[in-house]
Assembly symmetry: C2
Homo-oligomer: 215 residues x 2
């Protein structure tokens, strides 16, 4: 059975690994699973063939043993199917899943809004004030996260799907200086980036961008 | 074993069922599980006893067979532990979980931002423009959701944890007229509100607000 995921034909992040297919690539690499990639244009993402797989016209999707959308759900499915990225015991598993939801529902929103504002609202008269407010929200979350992480390597025991998603969320801050004020979180991100599975996934998505740029 | 959840001592929504403990109450009612509620003040939410259970100082938390945070993770745990709100087959289960993530990571962010802007940014010079932009994002998501729902009762077969979370997200739009333009989604929300489990959960959280107001 071949696993096929979708990714941007031309990623808006220019191959910096911020598109959400990175999460799925990384999880598949952690699981040692080969996969194929179908690149989709922004036009194709709005067409019925893609919408049948992804109702909101986004990437990534997952096709293989089943068809699935939402990067968080796909990462959870890969983790469960291949017995990776989640503790074997029920309590540890539930706690790792809590970190998955925390990454996507509590930490990501202000970080994503901040990066979006830096693109879309740069010329607005309120830009500085809005950025300041969003940075405050981000710092509140990062302070809580750093306090919980303490001097541990990962959020709750071994590296989990919760860490994987949390790191992909924090990586979006790399184009700012905010993470400099949270050295333990910067080190947490660096530890994750050093994982061979991360590096393989990053190289694969960068190669897509470079090929598109050369073409 | 007693299940104890936390909720706001005084909910900012004045008992309209928008606080995130509602999701957990509703899931527990669907599962037929009794539970106790520990009310926490905004001060207590920032203190170490609560932060040990909820690193970001939010509600709800879940204590019982394990201690857990993040409403999405708690609902998933309740569904799995009690064999409710998820299809029995692996594919149906994964797809219901995809809708859980879609509710919290794709549909909720613009809706939550919109309700927050209506409270915090009303006096800002950019208010109208920002509200308009957020409403555009919300309508884009609602259009996709309505297209997928079609004339079905629920998003993917029987009522699931994905529907439960999606409805709690859409309920936040009730103080606007936006949902009027999506009659199939308004009917979807009304169908969910008619469930006896929803009504018991709603009554329970409203009673907390009314007791606090009378006290």
């Amino acid at each position: 059975m071949t696993i096929t995921i979708t990714a941007f034909e031309r990623s808006p992040d220019r191959g910096r690994g911020l598109a959400r297919d990175m999460r799925v690539r990384w999880a598949l690499e952690e699981a040692g699973q080969p996969y194929e990639v179908r690149l989709v244009s922004f036009e194709a993402m709005k067409q019925s063939a893609h919408l049948a797989r992804q109702p909101f016209g986004q990437i990534p999707t997952y096709e293989g043993d089943l068809t699935l959308f939402e990067s968080g759900a796909i990462v959870l499915h890969i983790a469960e199917r291949h017995g990776v990225l989640l503790p074997a015991d029920a309590i540890g598993r539930a706690r790792a899943i809590a970190w998955m939801f925390a990454a996507l529902n509590t930490v990501e929103p202000p970080i994503f809004d901040h990066s979006l504002a830096r693109i879309l609202e740069r010329d607005q008269p309120w830009y500085e004030q809005r950025l300041h407010a969003l940075e405050g929200s981000i710092r509140k979350r990062l302070g809580s996260l750093a306090a919980r992480l303490g001097d541990a390597d990962w959020l709750d025991g071994a590296f989990s799907a919760g860490d994987l998603l949390m790191v992909t969320v924090l990586l979006r801050l790399k184009s700012t200086t905010i993470l400099d004020d949270y050295p333990s979180l910067a080190a947490y991100v660096a530890r994750a980036e050093a994982r061979p599975a991360y590096q393989r996934a990053f190289a694969a998505q960068l190669a897509v961008f470079q090929a598109a740029s050369a073409g």
